[in-house]
């Protein structure tokens, strides 16, 4: 990871944000066995 150069970043300052990413709906949820078949 590196600090974006001023010319390539949005010059507007945005305070640091660290977000948790919910991965429960990610690719592993459609692995074989997890697929739900519509009735």
């Amino acid at each position: 990871m590196r600090i974006p150069m001023p010319e390539e970043q949005d010059t507007q300052y945005e305070a640091p944000v660290v977000e948790d990413v919910d991965v429960s709906e990610g690719p592993s949820s459609v692995a074989p066995g997890n697929l739900s078949i519509p009735a």
């Binding site: 990871m1 590196r2 600090i3 974006p4 001023p6 970043q9 949005d10 300052y13 945005e14 305070a15 640091p16 944000v17 660290v18 977000e19 948790d20 990413v21 991965v23």
Partner: protein
Amino acid sequence: VQPVGVKLELTHACNLRCGFCYTDSPRHTLARTPDLSDDDWLAIVDEAIALGVLEAVITGGEPLLRRDLTLEVIQRLDAAGVGTTLNTNGWFVDDVVADRLAACRGLSAFISLDGATAATHDASRGVPGGWARAVAAMDRLLSRGVPVRIVHVVTPDTQPETEALIELGWQLGVSSVQMTPVVPTGAAARGGDWKIDAPRLRRISDHAGARWSGMPVLMRTGSLGDGMAPTRRTPLGPLVRPSGAVRIESVNPFSFGHARRDGLAGCWDRIVEGFDAPELMAWDRRMGVMGDYAKQDVVPYLDEDVPAERPSTTQAARAAALAAPVPAKTEPREPGPYATVAGALAHARKLGVARGYRRGAIRVSGEHVRVLATGAISRLNASAAAVLDACSPGTAADAVTALSAAYPEQSPDRLERDVREAIRSLAARAILRPALAGSDAPATAEGTVDLPY
């Protein structure tokens, strides 16, 4: 029924002279009241582990006055997977002690700090120099990744500095702050004005999230069951006094046997069978919520280890306990740089901003970061990524420099506050680790079997 936790008061002795000491440790220190031996304590710890406790509180007196014993006890509990809290005034936490504590997987330190300034804290604790030692202890432990909670005893004398003290904790980087009213047992039961503005503290606690991001400010009432299912009526665990007497909890004065003579398991059985005996329940009911302990016929820590089967004390014993004077060790001293709020906050800020960090065990892909130990994935915006970069390795000061270069229009003060918040957030997820931390594993949460008194 198994106990969930255990509280061990390893010693009566303390180097401080707090007028409100709920365990009356200054009196016991001057009287040289004997403690159990190291061998006795280690046997009790082994028995507690065998009983299946999940959490333990190590306290005193000042437990680190028995340094080798305290470290051995904590190490044994930690090795068994027991989450452990060390209650200490921080005076004896040097680099060696901090290193030993940092090697534990599930330890958090509760350190007493009553004022933002040295003047207020040291007056509250009766000994000059205590503030500086407590703050140094916090910095040593935080630098090694040990979660630290400030325990702030609120009195009429200390409450004017409560908000400044919380800000100081934030600047230092502590995990949480707990505001605690004086419990009128032990030394505090002899007298003194301990009335405080509780609604104000409640407001401070309620609004803390917006002011001090990522650092809970807790208001404890002394309830043993905090965090546990409200339906559970059996006590959560035994408390072992320095004498070996076993009680239910600190605010309950009745002894259910002796941990060595009767065995901890034997005492626990007596607790399970006898905690709701009518005489004891009657005492309990007279307490109300926080309890007017000082006016009861049996006062915790003033009337020592009153047997549960004979729940009363003699007037002569009470008179002797009340008469024992405990002089403060305060002596005139030049006001140091930490005697003012501004000086104290500047010191805390300097320590916090200079603390070194390194990258945790993570995998980075674009704006996403995966923490190997937990599998959790976080998304970082550009400035959060810049903070991570600057602190891998580096300090908050380095991150402020980096952000200032990228965003010169922003004020350094704003950037510093943002950087400190971001570091808190990254460290809480183990994306960043303090440079001196022993492992890449995230620090464990503070205990739930909270036995503050």
